[in-house]
Amino acid sequence: MASSSSTAAPQVYGADEVNAVVLDPGSFSTSVGYAGYDCPSMVFPSHYGEVVDGKGEKKRLFNDSFLHTSRENMKIKPILKNNIIIDWDGAVDQYNYMFKQMGVNPEDQPLMLTESTMNSYKNKEKALEVFLEQENYCAFYAVKQPTCVAFAHGKATCLVVDIGHDLITVTPVVDGFCLRNQVIGTNYAGAFLDQQLKQFLEDKNIDIVPQYRVKSKNTMYWENKESKPQFETKHYDYKIDNSVDEFSKLRVFQEMKETVLSCSLDDQAEKVPDADKDKMDVDYDEQRYFELPNGLNVPFTDAEANKIANSLFRPSDVLGNGIVKGWEEPHIGNIIETIGTADDKSSKLYVPLRRTKRPEEEEKEKDKDSNVDAKASNGADGSGKVKSEPCGLTKLVQTVLERIDIDWKPQLANNIIVTGSTSLIPELNKRLYEELSILNPSMKIRIQSVGNTVERKYSTWIGGSILASLGTFHQLWVSQAEYKEIGADRLIVNRFR
């Protein structure tokens, strides 16, 4: 597969014959593979199924096939949330399962783990402990995800816009270093779109029935709220847990997002049906049908599809009318505060100072409408109150650009990288480019994103693979001996900031 960031075999880079393992956990899926390859060998959903045996023992199940079939007494639990590992036991189990499948030998192969820029100190400590002590890897390194993306695209300095499932983050990367305190993000991402789709279907009185409940089906087109799908339910003796149902809905939503959604350049108001036009004259070409597992075909007009996709850019539109469940509180982009570990120690000294910085950051994130005035480097705006205006995608990028030092701004604006599976929505890049160009008439905006679907989804993993196979990287590995000698604390502060 031709890829823009193809890596040669490790030997070419003068590295040893060591084949590092690259592990990239994400909110939706976790990818694993050997370094030097141009796509991960395995991609698992970041959930596991917990089954209680007859004996009362808990067993964990991973892998797509297991999770999407029904099982008695199975609960599906997430491993990561907001890109940060929350369930370490489950995580370790999953990774071991995957490594066993790949035939990884920890003592011989170093492990490279990708992490979010907002990963907490505790998590890093735990990671070091797990991988170097518990699993006995010979060496380990934790690299930030935006850095990986930057390297995957061949740029050392860029602005990484990662549109994932749980989060959208915008991270400036300078010379390969992520600027952690300039990261901005919101949770208006893939999951947000999922929820909107869910409410869309609920409004039409449609139930999503998971695949495993369907015995046989007949194709049926949804016309009005009374339409009922025609299918036969599979009956199970046991009760299937809710979490299993919810999890398989994720799959349906994923397909829906992939096939139906598309962004449009301008925010069309919902097409007001012409009073004169008869409803029968509705152009059927405008509607697309999506078939649910139970055979019901749900119509999506272009306007509706656009509306949902455009909510990434203007969440206020969607939130204004009806509350999207779970997203009631408008998110202004200060992701570090809400998700990240603002009060975490990253140096040995305790950091009370963070809180004083917050009001400044919040002030900067206020709604700044297009015509940009000259700004001082620290633009305090007077009131300490925060306007709760939800940040759309363009505004996120714009905010980062505004805050960044003027010396780097043109270079960053010229190298914006859009990555993440949710960014595969058609026209998204185009719209982002148009809006940014309007807001920054005098700057050269250039958006770069890989065309290849696989590469777009797994750029983080690919970047990690590239990094781990570089000859010059090998001096950066943290070996077990080093870990024992120096200790986790100093390592984290110095090496894995």
Partner: protein, 381 residues
């Protein structure tokens, strides 16, 4: 060095900075290789309690600002968050002083570096960034304006260039007749026409040089190289002949010059003379040649049979009548009694001379008339 040394030597650079903070800054700078973007991002220095106390006493500020969130102005906080310029300032100044003070270590002082460090001016840096900011945030109207101005400037440049070129061409044109020669002759109407004619011939000759059709060098119609050379030589000599014509000056002497040039041409030309001619010339003396009637025709000879008397030169009717008058005065008739070769050529010469005489007379008459006119105009000066 420890904090005492620091307080002694370097504190006065910037009293706001403690030893610890400076050390922290240097550590960061070393770790991130002076990449300021990363340094400022990960700058998380926290002053110790006692430092804050000291500052509190020094500056006599009231609140402990780290706890309240309602502050608006930075200045009232005891610990001011550092900007990039602050960091750069401190680092460069301290380094410069340290480098300067390292005297007899055997290490050569890097004067250039110290100078560069010293030249960092915090305020200038802030100004520069403001300018850059403004530049980057120009409104589209400004950009459009600037672009249109640039286009206009370019247009002006082109126009100016064009004008200069035209001016040069004009000067060149005006320069062709030599201004050193008396120009009075060109002030009269006849003079002007004469000037025009000269210029035209000059122009024509020039053009002829450049527009000489080049024989095809390749292909079926190509002429062999030796013939090309011959053609080139012929063209050159014709040009030279014309040059000499012009150097002659007025049209009256043109015939003379014509003959002269022809003779010269003949001499210069290395015509491929036939062997017979060579033979004849070597064997016969000129008298013998005359006796035998051998004549070498240098001028173009018309094909066919004709009577020599038909080819006597004639002029325009006005000139012709005058010529006839003069002939009458001389007592020579128009019709030749014995039109032999020599007679005809001599007659030819005579006619040409008479014609030029007539011409001269005309001109002198004209000029005399104009002289009297001018005299009268100026009041018999």
């Amino acid at each position: 060095m420890d904090s005492n040394d620091y307080n002694k030597l370097l504190k006065d650079i910037n009293p706001d900075w403690s030893y610890k903070e400076t050390k922290y800054l240097f550590d960061l700078a070393k770790r991130y290789d002076l990449r300021w973007a990363v340094i400022i991002d990960s700058y998380e220095y926290v002053p110790d309690e006692d430092e804050i106390k000291v500052k509190k006493e020094d500056e006599d500020k009231v609140d402990d600002k780290e706890k309240s969130k309602d502050d608006e102005k930075k200045e009232t906080k005891t610990y001011t968050p550092r900007t990039v310029e602050d960091l750069k300032d401190q680092l460069y100044k301290v380094s410069s002083k340290l480098l300067n003070s390292k005297q007899d270590d055997g290490v050569v002082k890097d004067v250039a570096l110290i100078k560069a460090l010293d030249s960092f001016d915090k305020n200038k840096e802030i100004e520069r960034k403001k300018y850059l900011n403004r530049l980057l945030h120009r409104a589209p109207t400004e950009i459009a304006e600037e672009e249109s101005l640039v286009i206009e400037a370019r247009k002006f440049e082109l126009a100016a260039k064009k004008m200069l070129m035209e001016r040069a061409q004009l000067l060149q044109l005006l320069d062709s007749p030599q201004s050193s020669a008396p120009i009075h002759q060109f002030l009269t109407s006849s003079g002007l026409t004469q000037l025009y004619n000269t210029l035209m011939t000059v122009d024509k000759s020039k053009k002829r040089k450049t527009e000489a059709p080049v024989a095809p060098q390749l292909g079926p119609n190509a002429i062999p190289y030796t013939q090309q050379l011959a053609k080139q030589q012929a063209a050159q000599q014709q040009a030279q002949a014309h040059k000499q014509q012009q150097q002659g000056g007025s049209a009256a002497n043109s015939h003379h010059n014509d003959k002269k040039s022809q003779k010269q041409q003949h001499q210069q030309q290395q015509k491929p003379q036939s062997e017979i001619l060579k033979l004849l010339q070597s064997r016969l003396t000129p008298e013998e040649m005359e006796v035998y009637g051998i004549k070498f025709h240098e001028e173009k000879v018309q094909a066919g049979v004709y009577l020599r008397s038909q080819k006597i030169v004639t002029f325009k009717p006005a000139v012709q009548s005058k010529v006839v008058e003069i002939l009458n005065e001389l007592g020579i008739s128009m019709r030749l009694t014995m039109p032999t070769g020599a007679v005809c050529s001599k007659f030819d010469k005579l006619m040409h001379r008479i014609a030029s005489l007539v011409d001269l007379k005309k001109q002198t008459d004209k000029i005399e008339a104009e002289v009297t006119l001018m005299k009268r105009q100026k009041g018999l000066l």
